[in-house]
Symmetry: C2
Subunit: 232 residues, 2 copies
Amino acid sequence: MKRVGRFYGVGLGPGDPELVSLKAARILSEVPVIFVPKGGRESRALSILKGIVGEEKEIMELSFPMLEEDEGKWERAASRIWERLSRGEDCAFAVEGDPLLYGTFTPILSIFRHRFPEVEIKVIPGITSLSAAAASIPLPLARREERLAVLPAFYEKNGLEEVLQKFDTVAFFKVHRSLERILNILERMGLSGSCFLVEEVSTGRERVIGDMEEMRRAKPGYFSLLLVRRAR
Amino acid sequence: MKRVGRFYGVGLGPGDPELVSLKAARILSEVPVIFVPKGGRESRALSILKGIVGEEKEIMELSFPMLEEDEGKWERAASRIWERLSRGEDCAFAVEGDPLLYGTFTPILSIFRHRFPEVEIKVIPGITSLSAAAASIPLPLARREERLAVLPAFYEKNGLEEVLQKFDTVAFFKVHRSLERILNILERMGLSGSCFLVEEVSTGRERVIGDMEEMRRAKPGYFSLLLVRRAR
């Protein structure tokens, strides 16, 4: 029976290639082929990878849809990975941050579970942009009896006030298109002085903004996070 | 003017020494002295450290209280670190997981901010036990429009049902003394089939339990996490 390759979902961390784990670095150096997601913008995963693996490594970029309606693209990406696994080659799919927290790895994982259940999947966790953003400020995410909520700002329409009341720290991912709406809510709730916008965390372009007016002018990009902390 | 040492809060990750970041490993090798928290049980941080730094490194264990009433112990620990910093030595305080998520680093950070504001503090984020637990199963923490809540089980008395209804994934930290109470709630809510208990994640003693009856018999230790995921 022909051996099928092992499939690694590897977290590359928030941006700084030095924030990759020793294990991720080892696995990326061992596998013959690495897949990375290619977004509409520059590929963050690719720029981190360049700081870790040598020039001779085969790196394949996979285009992904931002919209779920385009489901076929995930299937095609999974098929390209399967093509290599079925030849007996171990493959890594390397993504920024942690593979399982808003990562492009999660839809691939679910496709593999259904279509290719014979593939052994190993996930290597990564440092999240959330931990890195808190470290940059630095600001505790949670102490002792405190609660932390992680929300996808873009999709949050209702109930934000309630979450902000009941959780000590709230982290908004995908905040770039929803920043003004969320800042308005925070201002109304008297939380203007309790929030930080962190852009491009741990990279050379990192910016940490704690001033509400400056945040309103910031026009943050895709790699932005808003941290709100009520607790002292 | 005498130079004061720089103070690093370093995340060691969930347990496997290979899940430390390259940056954490570098800083731990560079600083002359490393402090680690010493709990009532075996020191997880110390066992991770032994896998990273050599025998010749000076490692100082600091005893910490589990109860906040014992506030003086934090102050004494901070004083011992300050003693070395004030001699111009760079120091690291190395903790399991991420320093800012339920870490023993957070009270130390707040004492330094107030008592020793002249000390430059750098936090090196770490892979959380949450990311590592999700990777072990593997189970997505959040996709697209989904919400994640992180709760300290031990302190949660009311309102759990509401959080479980409004969040797609709920992670309970500090679950070892509250497991039965939380499992009862999950059973009442029809979520028995949607939870995993993960003990000692990424270590040789790791255990992942998805069966409710087995969880009830598990008697988990301090390093345990319960993940509940409603979403498919």
